[in-house]
């Protein structure tokens, strides 16, 4: 690596000092290759490029860096190093679409310009200004890039700066998103992600109903979105809803089925009705809806308006904005300064608390379904933000199917993609400035965070790994996949159709994110599998030994485990009085919450916790302060100061994977000898992440990310320690030994 300004040169001012001019460097090298660019994807076009640009390595303040070419295409910002890339061997985990020095345009979060050593946020209006000496790019996947433009010809520098800023910061229209050029130019090999249920056909929904033994009504009238553009093509509602009511308020207030519990009770979600004008009409409608839901099982219902008890999507956005700042770190000094008050800083962002609140709410819903066997209807203005978070979490806690990889992907399809979560607006893919009507907010990321907490606490219950979740969170900002690109099923279909017509060709083939082979090869995909996942097969065996409750599918707590008297659904005996109540208020909230909800669910959690843990049964998260953790892999992976070389969790998972492969080899050997009684199988073995075996020593804790960076072997020695401990009281100055006086010699 070319290192400049390092060595004994102690630069008094932080500006870059070089002893080698760019011309010298060039002349040393072989004749410069022309048109250096990354391997372009189908449909990718280069807009502009500049060289030489110095990319700073984040290692330290020594201002070292690599020279190369900076490009901007319609897909990414790319830096191509002048040096030949490192050996491929370190690349366990290479993304086929973009490398470590590439930033998909959608992934750019903010751009800063350094003008006379002052860092300024670049906004649209500043494009015409003079070109900064340094450009800092913060990415949504939390990478930080620093490009020094002082070696570049002024004209080129200006061009690339304006080009990048323009393509990253200007609002654009949906049809300009790279996915369409990609889909138009890539070979139309229709490869549906193998086993993920997409929930875009009637069969998928009926199958899911069958799986959960639900007996409800499937609505097919929306196949062409004639009836609502905010609902999926197919959806399921309580059997008791009449045809007349379905079309009354197109989609609004309609309880859409999410999942059914084995007891027969079910969870529904709904958007709230517009502000009532003709009071009687709406009241009556809403009442009938509630009755229809209650009818599903034992005439019971609990209704929860999530917008009243959970943070708003604006709160979520604000909190995350604060939170992420602490991981976008420009240099070592900033890192150690922010280390001093780390815990309170983290707390003040409120992000972990929002995660806790969502998990808490999900546990409350689980309690209703599992313990009280009550139908649940969750509501929210659009019915497609926090409703998606809560309903998905509830299903993960209750149904082990959704803890498998394909099951989880199906869940995201069901609740989020088919469920019309407004990905396009929430992720702000188009850089719309009008925050009012688009309200960007990392709702889906919040859901992944909650899932990560569950994975962290009950790892063997999940077939997918932490790495899978991290990669999924990155993929939101890769503008190739149809999954995260639209606000609704309607928008997806209409846009695709329009684009195909425009190109005058057959249906466009936009891959779903679940086509993991688009991004990773098979070896890398092995890292998505959690080697700890305890297989169902083995569990069944264990269960046979210990007789358990009747529900084979569910294997959740038998309700006898809870001694509290069953609270009857309040509809049951008092329909009339309830109707009166409904006329007074819209509906009553959670019934039994004399204490804080936290206290109410605590007993539920503790009862569950006292029972032996069944990874294929009900799973509840611990919500105590110390249990809520920071998703270190996602947030700390690019920060050099926190890399533990040769340590971290990967050190043991790689050992586990190695042993697993050994056992598998033996097993295969025995199978070949064909005298192995199937009875003796105690573990069903699945392929583990073998690619990383025997290299654990060189791996750092950020594995598999940032794997081809050269982490320094020198220890990171904290600076700015003293500020932290302002222990100024009398204790600090006290002598260690109070009762003795040192004899003066």
């Amino acid at each position: 690596m070319l290192s400049l300004g390092g060595g004994g040169a102690k630069s008094t001012k932080p500006s870059f000092v070089s002893y080698v001019t760019p011309e010298e460097i060039k002349s040393e090298k072989e004749p410069p290759k022309k048109e250096k660019h990354p391997d372009l994807l189908p449909g990718e076009v280069i807009f502009c490029s500049a060289d030489p640009v110095l990319k700073h390595t984040q290692d330290d303040l020594s201002q070292r860096g690599i020279f190369g070419t900076l490009l901007c295409t319609n897909f990414r910002v790319s830096f191509v190093s002048d040096e030949t890339p490192l050996e491929e061997m370190t690349q366990h985990f290479k993304n086929k679409l973009y490398g470590e020095n590439d930033i998909p345009l959608m992934c750019v979060d903010n751009i800063y310009g350094v003008y006379d050593e002052k860092k300024k946020l670049i906004t649209k209006g500043m494009l015409k200004n003079k070109c900064p000496s340094k450009m800092i790019i913060h990415c949504k996947d939390l990478r930080v890039f620093q490009f020094c433009l002082t070696y570049t010809k002024e004209e080129d520098a200006k061009k690339i700066f304006q080009g990048i800023a323009h393509h990253c910061l200007e609002p654009k229209s949906l049809k300009c998103v790279f996915a369409f050029s990609y889909a138009a130019s890539s070979s139309p090999e229709v490869q549906r992600s193998q086993r993920t249920v997409m929930f875009d056909s009637k069969e998928d929904w009926t199958q899911e109903m069958k799986r959960t033994k639900a007996n409800l009504r499937i609505v097919t009238e929306n196949e062409n979105f004639e009836f609502s553009m905010r609902l999926p093509k197919f959806f399921i509602i309580p059997a008791a809803v009449t045809d007349e009511d379905i079309s009354k308020f197109p989609g609004k207030g309609l309880p859409v089925w999410c999942w059914s519990h084995h007891s027969g009770c079910a969870m529904f979600k709904a958007s709230t009705l517009p502000v009532p004008q003709e009071d009687g009409l709406m009241q009556g409608y809403m009442e009938r809806m509630l009755h229809a839901v209650a009818h599903t099982h034992l005439y019971s219902l609990k209704l929860e308006d999530l917008s009243e008890t959970l943070p708003t999507i604006q709160d979520i956005q604000q909190s995350y904005n604060k939170f992420k700042q602490f991981f976008l770190i420009d240099n070592s000094t900033d890192f150690w300064v922010s280390d001093v008050k780390w815990f309170s800083t983290l707390e003040n962002t409120g992000w972990l608390d929002i995660i806790r609140q969502c998990l808490q709410k999900a546990v409350e819903v689980v309690e209703c379904l599992e313990k009280e066997n009550t139908n649940v209807l969750i509501m929210e203005e659009e019915g497609s933000d926090l409703c998606c978070v809560i309903s998905s979490l509830v299903q993960i806690m209750l149904d082990p199917h959704f803890r498998t990889l394909t099951g989880f992907q199906g869940l995201v399809q069901k609740e989020w993609v088919a469920g019309c979560h407004a990905f396009l607006d929430r992720c702000n893919h188009l850089y719309q400035k009008d925050k009012e009507c688009h309200s960007p907010s990392p709702v889906f990321l919040l859901f992944l965070e909650c899932v990560w907490q569950m994975v962290q606490q009950h790892s063997p219950a999940f077939q997918f790994s932490e790495t899978y979740l991290t990669v999924l969170s990155d993929s939101i900002h890769v503008p190739i996949f149809s999954t995260f690109l639209f606000n609704s099923a309607y928008q997806r279909e209409s846009t695709m159709k329009a684009e195909a017509q425009h190109l005058q060709r057959g249906p466009l083939n936009c891959p779903a994110v679940w086509d993991w082979s688009v991004q990773f090869d098979c070896k890398a995909q092995e890292l998505f599998i959690n080697p700890l996942y305890a297989d169902k097969l083995k569990q069944d065996k264990a269960i046979r030994k210990v007789p358990r409750a009747k529900h084979q599918r569910q294997l959740s707590l038998p309700s006898s485990a809870f001694k509290t008297p069953p609270k009857k659904g309040f509809f049951k005996d008092e329909t009339e009085s309830l109707k009166k109540m409904l006329r007074v208020k819209r509906i009553s909230r959670w019934m039994a919450s004399p204490d804080s909800p936290a206290a109410a669910t605590r007993e539920f959690y503790e009862t569950w916790q006292r029972r032996p843990l069944d990874y294929h049964g009900l799973l509840l998260p611990c919500l105590d302060g110390p249990a809520m953790r920071l998703w270190m892999q996602r947030y700390l992976r690019w920060i050099p100061e926190v890399q533990i070389l040769g340590g971290g969790p990967v050190a043991i998972t790689s050992m586990l994977a190695e042993l697993l492969s050994q056992v598998q080899d033996l097993r295969r050997e025995l199978d070949m000898r064909s005298c192995w009684e199937t009875e003796a199988e105690s573990l069903q073995l699945r392929p583990g992440p073998l690619a990383l075996t025997r290299t654990s020593l060189r791996l750092s804790s950020s594995f598999p990310f940032a794997s081809n960076r050269n982490w320094t072997f020198k220890p990171a020695i904290p600076t700015s320690l003293l500020q932290s401990l302002m222990v100024t009281d009398r204790l600090a100055s006290q002598e260690d030994e109070t009762n003795e006086v040192i004899s003066l010699v």
């Binding site: 503790e606 843990l613 033996l666 990171a716 600090a732 260690d736 010699v745």
Partner: protein
């Protein structure tokens, strides 16, 4: 109830005798009041119950208080409140009739604090027998020989064989070859409590050393001592280090303040070939208060709403960070070939933390189960960490200003390292917890008394059993299955708050909401190991029967499983 079981179980301790057997109510902070009986023996306090057994070694008790008086009316308001050293409190409600409280209080007070009542510590009464004698684990000469000492630059000195030079040091010391016994005596006059710089560890390749000592007696007048200055220069010369680095563990201001009581630090003028670095670690009083605050937020209930900021306000992890980063600096210096001297005020608290942690980072031997025992015996026990004063074994004076969780803090640092490097240590978390439990239990002689000279006078090695006897007689539960020995690797933990975490399984272990399960990874790994063995056995059997049937078969049993597999894959 379980009294017979209880006795049978503890016949082990032949001298155990039952003192009290009374009906009480245990006020559990998690499950409410529980009725039961309390048994107090001279070793432990038990409350057996069909579902719940509370079992507390008496020596873990720090303070006993009566709560409520004759006029107390409320339910369960009359009884005893017991503060323990291991992060919990116990509350017993008693009947007001019949002086039962007076009896229990009296017996508890007497046997929880035997030294205050002229009674021996339990370790001297226990007659447990173990296969292995743990007192043999540490032999100073063997340990120095392992490090390649003595050599042409470092010699073994017996000057302290009768504790004449320094009564808080061990008998065997390693000092520069060039320094005479007379030099040592003169240096001793200039070091607090005569704790002169002596060698703790030497780097095999670069010969850089870690020296430990106490502060120089500079005083207000800024005294100098030519012998001390020359002595440090000899240390520097030993491996040709251009500059000797002196790590003063204290914050700068404290070091300055120490001049008022005759102490101080090595001035620049006097020690020209040395650089002085302050590591800003606070004193024992600050640490004691910090742990007290920590207990407040985790016991009995975990502070919920503002967990992180509460945790931060205890400063416990910040202190851990400072200790660790100090040790990292020491280790880094030494591994890059420079000798270092480490001291604080007296060189038995912060100094022990720093040298032992640095040695743990530098020398993989100390990361083994037995090596770690050697490290504790050497840097903590033999070099006079004042266990008796810091823990207050058998002493009723719970407010003693000398008490401080310095050793606990060290074990916490070790735990942080094991978290960051899960394959680098042979011992597991359970081992560390057992060590801490017996730090207070007084069942073993290992952590009793302040220094070797006092231990000798009480014949600790002959009259008590070592904790390592228990550990080494059956090691399986203390071993980390992921341990992968790597001899020459230096471990640098990351001393950032991003990685430091509260040791929940220790500090919050009494809370039933915290699930104490074996780590699933470990469990799964052990299952797989068992499965591998099962398969290997099966294969061997198959091969054996094959070879008896077929004449041309040639499958000798490979020794290692790895070879075995590769071999087996070929023939078919």
């Amino acid at each position: 109830m379980t009294i017979t079981v209880g006795v049978a179980q503890f016949l082990y301790f032949l001298c155990l005798f039952s003192l009290v057997d009374k009906d009480v109510m245990y006020i559990c902070p998690f499950n409410g009041a529980l009725k039961g009986k309390v048994f107090i023996t001279n070793f432990r306090l038990m409350e057996p119950d069909s579902t719940f057994t509370l079992d507390v070694p008496l020596s873990v008790i720090s303070r006993i208080e009566k709560m409520g008086g004759a006029s107390s009316r409320g339910e369960n308001s009359y009884g005893l409140d017991i503060t323990c050293k291991d992060m919990r409190n116990l509350r017993f409600a008693l009947k007001q009739e019949g002086h039962s409280r007076r009896d229990i209080f009296g017996e508890l007070f007497k046997y929880a604090f035997p030294l205050s009542h002229g009674l021996p510590l339990f370790a001297f009464l226990s007659q447990e027998k173990f296969e292995e004698n743990g007192w043999n684990i540490y032999k100073p000469m063997d340990e120095f020989r392992r490090q390649g000492l003595p050599n042409e630059r470092w010699r073994i000195s017996f000057i302290n064989s009768t504790y004449e030079l320094c009564d808080t040091y061990p008998t065997i010391l390693v000092v520069p070859f060039k320094a005479t016994e007379e030099d040592l005596r003169r240096v001793a006059t200039f070091r607090s409590r005569c704790r002169i710089p002596v060698l703790s560890w030497i780097h095999r390749e670069n010969q850089a050393v870690i020296m430990r000592c106490s502060q120089p007696l500079v005083g207000m007048s800024g005294k100098r001592n030519k012998d001390d200055e020359r002595y440090l220069d000899i240390i520097r010369e030993a491996n040709g280090t251009p500059k000797l680095t002196i790590y003063d563990a204290r914050p700068n201001v404290n070091a300055v303040a120490n001049k008022a009581t005759g102490g101080g630090y090595e001035g620049e003028d006097a020690y020209q070939n040395a650089e002085l670095v302050f590591l800003d670690i606070h004193n024992i009083h600050v640490m004691r208060e910090s742990l007290k605050k920590l207990k407040d937020i985790v016991y009995p209930n975990v502070e919920e709403s503002h967990w992180l900021s509460s945790l931060e306000s205890t400063h416990w992890l910040e202190h851990i960070k400072l200790v660790l980063s100090g040790a990292i600096q020491v280790a880094d210096k030494v591994s890059s070939g420079n000798s270092v001297v480490v001291h604080c005020s007296d060189g038995w608290d912060r100094t022990a933390q720093l040298t032992s942690l640095a040695m743990l980072m530098l020398d993989s031997y100390y990361r083994t189960l037995r090596g770690f025992q050697v490290l504790l015996e050497k840097e903590w026990i033999s070099f006079g960490h004042k266990f008796a004063s810091r823990i207050g074994h058998g002493d009723k004076n719970h407010a003693d200003q000398d008490r401080s969780p310095i050793f606990l803090q060290f074990i916490d640092c070790v735990w942080q390292m094991t978290k960051q490097f899960p394959t680098a240590f042979e011992f597991n978390e359970h081992f560390l917890i057992v060590v801490l439990d017996h730090l207070y239990s007084c069942r073993f002689g290992t952590f009793l008394y302040n220094c070797e000279s006092i231990r000798d006078s009480h014949n600790v090695r002959t009259k008590t059993v070592s904790l390592w006897s228990l550990i080494n007689s059956s090691t399986t539960s203390y071993v980390n299955p992921f341990f992968t020995p790597e001899s020459s690797r230096v471990l640098y933990p990351v001393a950032s708050m991003r990685h430091l975490e509260l040791w929940v399984n220790y500090y919050i272990r009494w809370n039933p909401r915290i699930r104490h399960q074996q780590s699933p990874v470990e469990q799964r790994y052990k299952e797989l190991l068992a499965l591998r063995d099962q398969y290997l056995k099966k294969l061997e059997e198959l091969q054996l029967s094959d070879s008896t049937h077929m004449t041309n078969s040639s499958t000798p049993n490979a020794a290692s499983p790895n070879q075995h597999i590769t071999h087996l894959q070929t023939p078919f």
